[in-house]
């Protein structure tokens, strides 16, 4: 059945307006009823704004570019990516770290904030969690793209084979394989588990074709009985605990790809926290970007509203500051340490051929976030849109500037190599990866509830409770805790 709702009648013109300063916005208005939440979400999936389809088309095109580049590279050999025997790594590894980083914000919101019962997360965590999963999938692709003989990637997997040999468990890459695999599996499980009640709602509200079957299958006969809710709460809590540990360990292991090695600029003790925080930072920036896009695309103005955005931005700013601190700490330890090679490496970054990029990255990732400190801009959508994109560019550069300069300027002067620039193949595949990520995310948001309905309802319920207390103090009667809207 179609649920008519007034949420459609809305003036698209005031979309880009930030909320006026004086109005006191809550993360969810107390006047929204359960029914309206359901209908909004369901209907937003039914027909999103047309830009959605444009986005899909663009993403597919981008994926096409990436695939074309990869096919060429697969046929001809990695040489077409214009690496050298000195710069053996490049954009691929940097992007791998970048995508793993993007994945972390989702976990932060869905797991950590869930444990701390910060309610404002309830409207954003679902798509954040989805981003986690898809970002990890993208990261995994980069590992494979990067391999010289990717058709034999299964050599890395530990399974009893007839050759009687095993992967080298001492290699950080194998740890990556373990931890990223675990992280991917767990986060997708987490995503799915959290969706079960909402899937049940869809099962009841969608009546056509394959989607009905899909939802019916996935909802697994959820009926919201008290027994189900009880166990669900505990299970979800447990999962979020695991997810937090995973997120931290995951990027620490990724950082050990570098920290475990011997190269100047990589062999740094503070890399794990540095990477983790950097991941949260860039992830949150990406979150803001997607926030603004979804808000418009699926008409989520009611739920992805300015108050939530403001909180998100503040969180991002805080993380940015922590990361900045670690960034300087890392440089300081190198600068005051005894390792001359690492010191040279740092100087090289700041003055060598990569200097321009290095300073740009410092500007983007260290200076730019300060814009978020100003209240007037925290809810200004265009500003936040551009800003979040810039931050992501900065953080990608950060990863690339960890990988490239060290390879070109490591221990052995004879093999120093300053003039390796990634070929269009590498850029093309990076470009394609964004398309791939966007495509997955868009399809997800179209098919599954991108905002969590039952948690919003809980939120609405909580607001009503507050309302009741307020009324009680004012001495009026005691309004019911009705699930309907209060009008």
């Amino acid at each position: 059945m179609k649920i008519k709702s007034d949420t459609f009648i809305r003036n698209p013109k005031d979309l880009w307006k930030g909320e006026p300063e004086h109005t006191e916005v809550r993360d969810l208005s107390p006047h929204i009823g359960f029914n309206q939440i359901t209908s909004d979400v369901v209907n937003s999936l039914e027909n999103p704004r047309p830009i959605y389809w444009w986005a899909i088309a663009i993403c597919i095109a981008m994926v096409g570019v990436g695939v074309a580049c990869e096919v060429h590279q697969y046929k001809t050999g990695l040489g077409v990516s214009n690496k050298s025997n000195t710069n053996v790594w490049g954009v691929y590894i940097a992007s791998f770290i970048f995508w793993v980083g993007v994945s972390h914000a989702g976990t932060l919101l869905s797991a950590l904030l869930h444990l701390t019962h910060s309610d404002w997360r309830k409207s954003v965590f679902r798509y954040a969690e989805a981003m986690t999963t898809f970002a990890l999938m993208t990261a995994g692709l980069f590992v494979i793209v990067h391999l010289g003989r990717l058709w034999q990637v299964y050599y890395v997997m530990p399974y009893p084979n007839e050759r009687g040999i095993w992967p080298n468990f001492q290699s950080p890459l194998v740890w990556d394989m373990f931890v990223i695999g675990t992280y991917l599996t767990c986060s997708s499980i987490f995503l799915y588990t959290g969706m079960i009640p909402d899937l049940a709602v869809f099962r009841d509200n969608i009546h056509d074709g394959w989607r009905k079957k899909l939802y019916t299958f996935l909802a697994m006969g959820w009926q919201g009985t008290d027994r189900q809710w009880r166990n669900f709460r505990v299970a979800y809590l447990t999962l979020s605990v695991y997810l937090i540990i995973l997120a931290v360990s995951g990027h620490s292991v990724v950082s050990s790809d570098f920290a475990m090695s011997q190269q100047p600029g990589w062999h740094i003790t503070s890399f794990p926290p540095y990477f983790v925080v950097g991941a949260l930072y860039s992830g949150n920036a990406a979150l803001i970007t997607v926030f603004i896009i979804l808000r418009y695309m699926f008409r989520y103005e009611e739920y992805l509203n300015m108050d939530v955005l403001r909180k998100l931005v503040r969180l991002t700013f805080a993380l940015a500051m922590i990361w900045t601190y670690l960034h300087f700490i890392e440089m300081a330890t190198v600068w005051y340490g005894h390792d001359q090679a690492a010191k040279d490496q740092l100087i090289f970054k700041a003055t060598g051929v990569y200097a321009g990029w290095w300073w740009l990255f410092n500007f983007l990732a260290v200076v730019c976030p300060w814009v978020m400190a100003f209240r007037r801009w925290q809810t200004n959508l265009p500003v936040q849109m551009v800003l979040s994109l810039l931050l992501n560019v900065g953080m990608w550069l950060e990863r690339w500037l960890i990988v490239a300069p060290t390879l070109g300027h490591s221990h052995y002067p004879w093999t120093f190599d300053f003039d390796q620039w990634p070929s269009y193949i590498q850029w093309g595949i990076l470009f394609g990866s964004f398309g791939w990520f966007g495509l997955l995310l868009l399809v997800f948001c179209k098919v599954f509830p991108a905002v969590s309905m039952y948690e919003l309802k809980e939120l609405a319920y909580a607001r009503k409770v507050e309302l009741r207390h307020a009324h009680a103090e004012e001495g009026h009667g005691r309004p019911e805790l009705a699930t309907k809207g209060a009008h």
């Binding site: 050999g77 990695l78 040489g79 025997n85 053996v88 990067h146 050599y155």
Partner: protein, 305 residues
């Protein structure tokens, strides 16, 4: 059965392999010494290596892009800038520091190949265990196991590992060995395919051949029974190679005489500099603790002229 192995030989698996720890090499420890005072930099070793190990000639463009495949490269250093080691000219030609007017004490030639480190940084990081340490102290590289993650190269302090960026044996694309050039290829050495890492193997095919004979005759390989291609070609005899565990071998005598201990990361002789004037032996980047198996003998220049 692995679990049984684990439980029975636990202590054995806890030994640090193979240098230092309680675990000795099994009969062999191949090592090399290169005397840079008599190395003339004539490139005979390089060509010999190309001939012996089926190295691909990559051509001008790829060489320019740093995709050259010389397992053994001759590096040429100048010592006459103001402080030794400072760049004389940067790539863009501008004078970085004003050195002398001429290279008037000649060049310094340094043949650099895989150092077969005892604690090789490349070994621990290979995800598939394509590069391991063999019982006889060689840093092995199994081409067919390699998946091409290139982590070994990224972690190699000497950057002596070379990656097959293209399919060099494919006549359709890179025709490195056009007919009949391919008939020269050494049947004892794999022609590496696209996407695998390769490096100097101490001419393992020669070593294995004589070791197999030795086993058949129930003895160890004798000194002088086997030579690496570069050693055999070296006109001046600057390269010596052999089994360090054989006290009769020249290599062991050299390491002994030069007071270079393979299991140390800093040689005691370096503490008292003055009196060790003709102890020229040293190992490159020793301080990074890869414990390389190649000892270099310092170049000497006469101060009387």
């Amino acid at each position: 059965m692995s679990i049984a192995n684990l439980l029975q030989n636990w202590s054995r698996y806890r030994d640090t392999h193979p240098y230092g720890g309680a675990k000795p090499h099994m009969g062999y420890k191949w090592a090399m010494a290169i005397d840079m005072d008599i190395c003339t930099g004539c490139n005979a070793c390089t060509v010999a290596c190309y001939a012996e190990n089926n190295l691909a000639v990559v051509g001008k463009e790829k060489f320019l892009n740093g995709k050259s495949m010389h397992w053994l490269r001759i590096e040429r250093y100048w010592h006459d800038s103001v402080e030794a080691g400072d760049p004389i000219e940067l790539a863009d030609g501008k004078e970085f520091k004003e050195g002398k007017q001429f290279h008037d004490q000649g060049a310094h030639f340094l043949p650099m190949m895989c150092q077969h480190c005892e604690a090789a940084p490349c070994e621990t990081v290979c995800p598939v265990g394509a590069t391991n340490h063999t019982q006889d102290g060689i840093n092995s590289q199994i081409y067919n196991r390699c998946v091409g993650s290139r982590y070994c190269n990224a972690n190699c302090p000497y950057k002596v590992r070379y990656f097959n960026w293209f399919n060099y044996q494919d006549p359709a694309t890179e025709n490195v060995w056009p007919e009949p050039l391919n008939q020269q290829l050494n049947p004892d050495v794999t022609v590496r395919s696209k996407g695998v890492m390769e490096k100097c193997t101490f001419c393992v095919q020669r070593l294995r051949a004589v070791m197999v004979d030795a086993r058949t005759e129930e003895r160890l390989v004798r000194e002088g029974e086997v030579q690496t291609a570069c050693q055999q070609a070296c006109l001046a005899g600057a390269i010596s190679f052999g089994n360090m565990l054989n006290p009769e071998s020249r290599i062991s005598k050299q390491w002994m005489q030069q007071e270079v201990n393979i299991a140390l990361d800093a040689q005691p002789k370096n503490k008292h500099v003055g009196d060790a004037v003709d102890k020229r032996g040293y190992r490159i980047l020793e301080n990074l603790r890869p414990y390389p198996s190649v000892m270099y003998l310092e170049q000497v220049r006469e101060s009387a002229v």
